[in-house]
Amino acid sequence: MQFLEATLARLALALAGPNRHALVVAPSERHLPQWTILMGPLVVPAATIGLSFGVLASQAGLSVYAATVMSATSYAGSAQFAAVSLLGSEAGLLVAFTAATLLNLRYIPMGIAIAPWFVGPVWRRIAEAQMIVDESWALAQQSDGSFNRKLMLQIGAAFFVVWVGATAIGASLGPQFGDLERFGLDVVVPVVFLALLTPRLADSKQRTIALLASLLALVTIPYAPPGVPVLVSLLAVVLVGRR
């Protein structure tokens, strides 16, 4: 659990890049709400990815409404990209759903870690839990290991607005973009996945799993329909886990 927490914290710092000093409250910024200071460096990446997702979803055959509803109800970037990418590559509904499910498995331990700070009736806890995303979860963690639930909700809500709004714009513009490859935008999805993967590579076991999974996928690509290499790559978890 500590590794996951550290990984997600590093993800937030990596997303912020050279602007990560902004994650620390400067004296001149102390009059601003903490969530605005933390959220600032993450607005552009969130909008870029949301826009890209909208375009991709549109080109995968989803309507503007479907793409926007997906961002609003799922609110889980990597799973959405995986699902839509696989659906667009005609891998099939089951494979797309399975990949998204596997990518979202992390929300279970993340939700458990933050659970003690969720109080009130069940409906309220369910509603508030939807604001858990990698960035809000990582940024809400305090130095003593506790979570600032209010901060998580504020950052999660701000991210939500950017994410859903950018998706709607991207999905609306999607058909006008024509071939995404012309603009090099077909690299956005693998680069986003790479950005999500990079912080995990600091851990040797995760690095071994990632390398082995890549190799398994590479070997499988020529012999299997789209989507199957991703599922075969899960053997890496079993193989490394047994060591």
Partner: protein
């Protein structure tokens, strides 16, 4: 109903359940260690496989083209901890440029 809408419903429902699971059911308890390790390994494997498939995967073939160059540039920039918006901009630009030159 189209496959797209089915996907929206299924992924949305699944995500709501996964995100709610901890706050609703577990309270302060942690997952068993074995399950935690498995959960942590799965995203790394799936993400690595997706990067590979989406970078060099063709129609049942492996292809190294402008997209692979763009992703390679992105990998270097991410290692240098450049901000994601810049990584996306540069990698997309380089991919488009290589494609145009080709």
């Amino acid at each position: 109903m189209t496959q797209g809408w089915w996907l929206v419903l299924l992924v949305g429902g699944m995500t709501v359940v996964f995100k709610s699971f901890g706050p609703v059911v577990f309270g302060g308890r942690q997952l068993p260690a074995v399950l935690s390790r498995f959960s942590f390994g799965v995203p790394a494997a799936v993400l690595a496989a997706l990067v590979t498939v989406l970078t060099v995967g063709g129609d049942r073939s492996i292809r190294f083209d402008a997209r692979a160059i763009g992703v390679a540039v992105a990998a270097v920039m991410l290692a240098w901890r450049r901000p994601l918006w810049l990584v996306l901009l540069v990698s997309a630009g380089i991919t488009a440029l290589v494609r145009w030159l080709a």
